[in-house]
């Protein structure tokens, strides 16, 4: 697609069904309010792993936004476990679902761990609404290729396309 055409692309959010997993009442409400301003009609909400997975099993979710740290009462499982479930569990209805991790665990170590778990986009809290929108739009309109390397299944973690003329080790790794 030419750059000019891409400039004219629009996202009709009214057609997209969201799951927002956020234990903090106010922050969950903020995400919901922002999504509603974007004309989103379908928003499911969850505060913990079990509820989120139950919603996901219904198969109506197009895109998930999740916090890393979930409800205090249920410390056993966190947002990363949900990401892992979506990407790897046989019961997952859409293993290639776009997932936005939105978390106050914002240090580089967490960004890398989230990426290695298979999140599509990472939004560090506190965030700006424009920053959030940009990540969301990217997850929807610019989906990345998926790869399976060893135990990893998820979006291609390479952001930039770099010309490379050497052997394709990724394919070799898969063949082993």
């Amino acid at each position: 697609m030419s750059e000019d055409m891409a400039d004219h692309e629009r996202i009709d959010f009214s057609k997209i069904s969201f799951l927002v997993v956020e234990p903090n009442r106010l922050m969950g409400q903020m995400v919901r309010d922002v999504l509603q301003m974007l004309d989103v009609q379908y928003i499911d909400r969850a505060r913990d792993f079990e509820t989120a997975v139950n919603v996901l099993r219904m198969g109506r979710t197009d895109i998930m936004i999740t916090e890393w740290a979930l409800s205090q009462e249920k410390l056993g499982r966190n947002g990363m476990d949900i990401v892992h479930w979506v990407r790897n569990d046989g019961g997952s209805p859409n293993r290639m679902m776009p997932i936005v991790m939105m978390t106050a665990n914002s240090e580089e170590e967490y960004v890398c761990r989230a990426r290695d778990c298979g999140v599509s986009e990472f939004v560090a809290k506190p965030y700006t609404v424009n920053g959030f929108y940009t990540r969301l739009a990217s997850a929807i309109a610019r989906p990345r290729q998926f790869v399976r390397i060893g135990e990893y299944f998820g979006p291609d973690r390479r952001r930039r396309k770099v010309e490379y003329s050497g052997p394709e080790r990724r394919i070799m790794a898969e063949a082993v």
Binding site: M5, R10, I11, F13, Q29, V34, A69, N94, A141
Partner: protein, 157 residues
């Protein structure tokens, strides 16, 4: 594996909806959603600060559930860290980050570690009591810097 295109096919078009890059007016409208919640934010943080003090009290008195209380301190400080900057309180985020970093992976705190945690919670109270938006004055910046230094020094003591 090619990217999944179902969502893109369903929602991306050339007629209806929001462009991939928002117009300044659209950004303002979205920002207004956040601004509208500022009062709720102050109430929410006040609740969180009370919960922090209670948890600190439980840890200090070595009551049953001190581990849970430490976990509560970590969890609440992380929530405040994520909220402050959104509502024009980046200093609150900075103090909460300092507290969260300090208590991360910490077992039963020593007396001096407890003092530092108490000082960090006091700093959060000061920010909210005085409605200090932005990065604060030189005094607050020096306080933050001193607390971070103390946290570095006593993290493992």
């Amino acid at each position: 594996m090619p990217p999944a295109q179902e969502l893109r096919r369903k929602a991306v078009n050339f007629k209806k909806g929001f462009r991939l890059k928002l117009e300044p007016e659209e950004i303002k409208k979205l920002e207004a959603v956040v601004e509208k919640a500022t009062d709720q934010f102050t109430v929410e943080v006040a609740d969180k600060l009370r919960a922090l003090r209670l948890a600190l009290n439980d840890v200090a008195n070595s009551q049953i559930g001190a581990d849970q209380a430490m976990q509560a301190i970590r969890s609440i400080s992380l929530e405040i860290k994520g909220m402050g900057g959104m509502f024009k309180y980046p200093l609150l985020t900075a103090f909460a980050k300092s507290l969260n970093d300090f208590t991360k992976d910490m077992g039963a705190p020593t007396p001096i570690q407890l003092d530092i945690i108490a000082a960090q919670i006091d700093a959060l109270y000061v920010v909210m009591a005085n409605r200090i938006q932005g990065s604060g004055s030189k005094v607050e910046m020096e306080l933050l810097s001193a607390l971070e230094e103390a946290a570095r020094k006593y993290k493992h003591h």
